[in-house]
């Protein structure tokens, strides 16, 4: 359980340990079924929107079965980095990426790689909950499974399991056929997470998943992330530094498309190496 952080903006002005790293759980012993997780390594990643050079020579190692947070001011490129990992970046007209994104040893941009397989293995949760409006709760969670050709009781079981794993089961078990958009914001986001985990990815990318939600829903999402990292590698973009402190094992600070610092969350917030990091985490800009 992650107790809500007592930290708020005023406490951040001092560079001392003002943000209690209560959220840093020591690495839990890996349970047998998670096996070896899969990490993501970015090697000299560059991304462009047309001629605009948005991401510059970014190299990051996201460790398996851990939560890594990407923080930084708006426009620093955090979302772009994450969208390059599951190759969503190239869906934007005129956008392209260069460099390597390795899932373990395999480059996601390799010539023989099937994009739809990439996105099944690397899932994504978006800032605003986006359940498919014409589909029921069940159909939403089943959407990815149906794409992969799954049918019948086996598929139904997976759907139920996914809904259970995000803690939504009790709230929706009696209305699985009602529209997905009929849920509250926080429930919708958990629904989207259930949709993502139903296809059993290895990595989950989260782009500011709680920023559109109320504080209680945010808390539930953060608890969920803490549980999910048992089975998945998680990369979370957040503009909320307390959130990063609560959920992330390690944190990456980005500025103007470059990685400035990447270290244990604890260290980033209490004793950052780079001056720019310090200025950001103490609230002097951004």
């Amino acid at each position: 359980m992650i107790p809500p952080s007592a930290g708020d903006q005023t406490e951040m002005t001092k560079p001392e340990p003002s943000i209690q790293p209560q959220a840093l759980n020591p690495a839990k012993p890996r349970s047998a079924h998670s096996g070896t997780g899969h990490g993501i390594t970015l090697e000299k990643l560059n991304a462009y929107y047309g001629s605009q050079h948005a991401i510059k020579d970014v190299s990051i190692k996201f460790l398996a079965n851990q939560v890594t947070a990407l923080i930084g001011p708006s426009g620093s490129g955090k979302s772009t980095v994450v969208r390059c990992i599951n190759r969503m970046h190239e869906e934007i007209p005129g956008a392209r990426a260069e460099g390597r994104v390795l899932l373990d040893q395999e480059d996601v941009y390799g010539p023989k790689v099937d994009i739809t397989a990439v996105r099944r293995v690397i899932g994504m949760v978006f800032q605003r909950p986006n359940p498919f409006p014409t589909m029921s709760i069940f159909d939403n969670v089943a959407a990815g499974l149906r794409l992969a050709g799954q049918r019948g009781n086996d598929m139904r079981e997976r759907v139920h399991e996914a809904i259970r794993s995000v803690g939504l089961w009790d709230e929706v078990k009696d209305r699985l056929n009602s529209p997905g958009v009929g849920l509250s914001g926080g429930q919708q986001q958990r629904l989207c997470i259930a949709r993502t985990v139903a296809v059993e990815p290895e990595v989950i990318l989260m782009d500011e998943p709680a920023s559109a939600l109320d504080p209680i829903s945010t808390l539930k999402i953060e608890e969920l992330i803490d549980e999910l990292k048992e089975r998945y590698t998680i990369v979370i973009v957040t503009h909320n530094m307390q959130q990063a402190a609560r959920v992330a094992n390690s944190t990456v600070f980005m500025l103007d498309g470059e990685v400035i610092e990447h270290d244990e969350t604890n260290k980033i917030f209490t004793n950052p190496s780079d001056e720019r990091t310090e200025r950001y985490v103490t609230g002097k800009f951004g």
């Binding site: 079924h33 998670s34 096996g35 070896t36 997780g37 899969h38 899932l103 373990d104 040893q105 395999e106 996601v108 390799g110 023989k112 790689v113 099937d114 739809t116 397989a117 990439v118 099944r120 293995v121 794409l147 992969a148 050709g149 059993e200 290895e202």
Partner: protein, 300 residues
């Protein structure tokens, strides 16, 4: 999934068993969609090119500038000068009626009317737009021709009724795009509403109003059904400028020639079609392009 996780990462990124099928279906749908677009454009080209080719033997300056002559055997020779003049007069009269009324309706609904009245008027315009043009012809026939005779006025009024909703709706769109801040600036300067409309709103929107009207003209230039009952029986073969008689016009001329069995008539029909289609398509393309540009400029 977990069991394969311990194996080579290769396996994770390779395509699933039915990935090839999904890719094939995707490709197939892409081809189908593109083909549909190609077919549509091809049909357009086919029709236009047919008209051009078939009109070639009969189209020349004489055709446009001389009046029809019927030979002793009842075959049409000569040209369509009277139809061209007649059409221009009919379109001109119709537009002179429809454009001011259309713009006034648009002014009323966007500047003065409350929302319920506005909705009612828009609803009426939508229905008016959906009335089949032959029914419009029957209507004008009923009020003007029955008990009297066909006339250019009747034809022009029928065309005006068809043109009105088009002009009104496009004018409404354009007026609504004029930013409210301009109106408010006028109010703040102490202008009354009517001056604001005439001196600020209309000049701002004038580009869109013109192109919207041109779209209306392009539409009625090609309308045959409204004229069929109101201005289709011409008493002489010369140029008429008197709207109290039925006026010759291009659409009816094409229609009549198309129903004939004589190949010479067909050739004339094609030639007249070329004149009409060029007129309509050129007006349409110009109006649409500039209309889009005006709207975009207003949206800012």
């Amino acid at each position: 999934m977990e069991s394969s996780a311990a194996g080579a990462p290769h396996a994770l990124l390779t395509a699933g068993p039915d990935a090839r099928r999904r890719k094939a279906v995707n490709r197939f749908m892409e081809v189908v969609s593109t083909a549909a677009a190609v077919v549509a454009v091809a049909v357009l080209a086919l029709v236009v090119i047919s008209v051009v080719i078939k009109a070639a033997p009969a189209i020349n300056l004489k055709f446009i500038t001389s009046n029809p002559q019927v030979s002793p055997f009842g075959v049409n020779t000569g040209g369509i000068a009277n139809s061209i003049v007649g059409s221009l007069i009919l379109i001109g009269l119709a537009t002179a009626m429809a454009v001011p009324v259309g713009i006034l309706v648009a002014i009323y609904t966007t500047e003065f009317a409350g929302s319920r009245v506005s909705t009612t008027i828009r609803f009426a315009l939508d229905i008016l737009n959906g009335v089949p043009t032959i029914v419009t012809g029957v209507f004008v026939f009923g009020i003007l021709v029955l008990g009297a005779r066909q006339s250019g006025w009747a034809g022009a009024i029928a065309l005006a009724i068809v043109e009105l909703p088009i002009v009104a709706r496009s004018a409404q769109e354009v007026l609504e795009l004029v930013p409210n801040s301009l109106r408010e600036a006028g109010l703040a300067l102490g202008l009354r509403r009517w001056r604001i409309v005439l001196r600020i709103v209309l000049p701002t929107a004038v580009g869109g109003l013109i192109t919207g009207s041109v779209l209306g003209v392009a539409r009625v230039a090609g309308e045959t059904a409204p004229l069929l009952l109101t201005s289709s029986v011409f008493s002489n073969l010369g140029v008429t400028t008197n709207p109290s008689q039925a006026m010759p016009n291009i659409p009816i001329t094409i229609f009549t020639l198309s129903e004939s069995a004589a190949p010479q008539d067909h050739a004339q029909a094609w030639a007249a079609s070329l004149v009409l289609i060029l007129f309509v398509l050129l007006l349409s393309v110009t109006a649409r392009t500039f209309h889009e540009r005006s709207r975009r400029r207003l949206r800012g």
